[in-house]
Symmetry: C2
Subunit: 346 residues, 2 copies
DNA sequence: TTTTTTTTGGCAATCGTTTCCCATCACGTT
DNA sequence: AACGTGATGGGAAACGATTGCCAAAAAAAA
């Protein structure tokens, strides 16, 4: 406890009451801006509170009100980009309400996750934000059972379920990226998807196909490569694409990490971006603008998603009933310098 | 509160006591593993506790014991790399003790910072971790005044002060980087420092000078550029270096972000790394291995620093007196692919 | 058997608030 | 003059644990 170690131990509401010559009740009313106190009295108390730098005991208040003021965020691991943007958004709105954000990385470790769960159950949490791409039905079930409000962030595989979640328009992103490349004049566009077991990976691919179809371009299945959203996959699959009899003039990477892999492969083969090869990423994480050249990518509005998630959670906590339980924010194309018309080297 | 919304409201120690046919006191003793309970009784109570899935009220316990189980971490902003590694380390050790980590980004905003401070004072915090490169004497003063244990992470400008802090051997890093380049055969090595107002920027530079001196190479002041630890500076100063009558064959960037700027400039001018120019960074953040080519850099043991900071803080909280108040972990050279002997284009 | 010591176990106060409910008091009404 | 009413203020019981201290019982010592 903050002031406990101080010489004279923590100041209490009773001391304020004494000094103001009123009862504890009255001070409490003033502190909580409740009616039933004459404005003169109110002011007097407020003055003393300010002057004495009194701070409430969170614990005591919490004990009575059954609220902790804490929101727990479970992420998979502390990586760059994705998580960060969301955390930022969450914090933005929590800041305004006075809640504190508790962060925990589960590392996909079942045991860790259980310990975490137990802890937020026994220590108090007002609500939980789940940033776990992979479905964790066990986890969500426990939360539901304990009536602990939560909202899931990101695109999960278990979409049909009955809890609130937030994602973004992945399909649209896939479509837009491809459409953009086509608009630039590309006809042979390679794509390195994420694991196709994931709904969201398939969504990107579907968008890609649709855009091609809309432009009347036949899909060449040889140009479709599956990755695992990691740099290494981007590298390898790019090599594979380059080794094709008729290689693409542009590559659409399933996420920015894979795009970095694409960059690496191209760099290794001395192929210039964007003059000899265009590259589009997905996510728009922190470091995308820092790449050389800056990566053109499909932006997921991470911060916005975080904000929305927090807002929803707060409403849930307030006891509001939400009328929808899945929300999608729209992706957008961020044009930087990794794309150009094909041709120069073609 | 977690279980509050549950049908039957939260289970209390009293109910356990009832069911076990013992007093509240006894149950409490069992829960806290205190002596004075026969082992038979102890077991019986434990069984009931387990069976009923009883969880303690954190608030009540906290009210009595004056502990919150919360550690607050103040960072500047949620960026990639630096912060993340440290958070990871902190969490590693907190996980073992059952503390929860509360994160807050101050964004260098004075008002935000004040609100945060007020909040951790009024709501309880067991201790604070400060990840704020710039000295915030006001902040540290308040913490000291309130006897709230804290440790500062990273290299601050106000080193002579009387609170525990953790950093890394910056000077050594500057020396090692330069020495490495010299070993590779470079004689003209450019350096893009951070703001020289910062002690740590000067430390890097001093290391650079020392290594040059040790190798008997005269320092050419024209090769020393000052940046602001941001990508743009890396870009601009690299251009300046390249425009020198006799440009360097290697560049030592003050941090990895600046190194990314160096990459950008070289990419723009079509200068190949590492064959035509070697680059060394500093920090080894998340995305350094993802660059093309992967960046050779001086590694700050971020995770380790975080661990150490948390450990220290925990000891402080336990009331231990620390015998030292500044600790430095050693930096190390991480060799990747951005350096090569000079000459090819020379 | 009596006395002393050690083990067990429980009473009740306490932590610092919030909140239900009752007591006053000053006024305007009838 | 008696009464109803609204505005203020306070008394005291929670909230759910921890803990100092004492009592009873059991074990050991005399």
């Amino acid at each position: 406890m903050a002031l406990k170690r101080n010489g004279e131990s923590r100041m209490t509401i009773a001391q304020i009451a004494d000094e103001a010559g009123v009862s504890i009740t009255t001070v409490s009313k003033v502190l909580n801006r409740m009616p039933g106190v004459a404005s003169a009295t109110r002011e007097r108390v407020e003055k003393i509170v300010a002057h004495r730098q009194y701070v409430q005991s969170h614990a005591a208040r919490q004990l009575r009100k059954s609220q902790s003021g804490l929101i727990d965020l479970a992420i998979m691991r502390l990586e760059g980009g994705y998580d960060l943007g969301i955390m930022q958004g969450v914090q933005d709105v929590l800041e305004t309400t006075g809640h504190r954000l508790v962060v925990f990385a589960t590392h996909e470790d079942e045991a860790l996750e259980q310990r975490w769960l137990r802890r937020i159950l026994e220590q108090a949490s007002d609500g939980v934000l789940l940033l776990q791409p992979y479905a964790r039905t066990n986890l969500t079930n426990v939360l539901v059972e304990n009536h602990l409000p939560f909202v899931a962030i990101g695109d999960r595989n278990d979409q049909q379920v009955a809890f609130p979640s937030i994602g973004s328009t992945i399909w649209q992103g896939g479509f837009t990226a491809t459409e953009y490349l086509i608009g630039l004049g590309h006809r042979r566009i390679g794509i390195i998807t994420g694991p196709l077991a994931l709904r969201t990976s398939r969504a990107r691919l579907a968008g890609y196909r649709e855009a091609l179809a809309a432009a009347g371009i036949a899909v060449d299945e040889a140009l479709i490569m599956e990755g695992n959203y990691m740099l290494g996959d981007g590298y390898q699959q790019t090599c594979a694409l380059l080794d094709l009899p008729e290689p693409p003039t542009a590559i659409f990477a399933g996420n920015d990490a894979q795009a970095a892999g694409v960059y690496r492969a191209l760099y290794a083969r001395d192929i210039k971006i964007p003059s000899q090869m265009s590259v589009v990423g997905f996510d728009d994480v922190m470091y995308s603008p820092q790449m050389s050249p800056p990566l053109t990518t499909i932006r997921q509005p991470l911060v916005e998603i975080g904000r929305m998630a927090a807002t929803l959670l707060l409403r849930l906590i307030a006891g509001e009933m939400l009328d929808m339980n899945h929300l999608e924010l729209s992706t957008s194309l961020v044009i930087r310098e990794s794309c150009a018309p094909p041709g120069i080297s073609r």
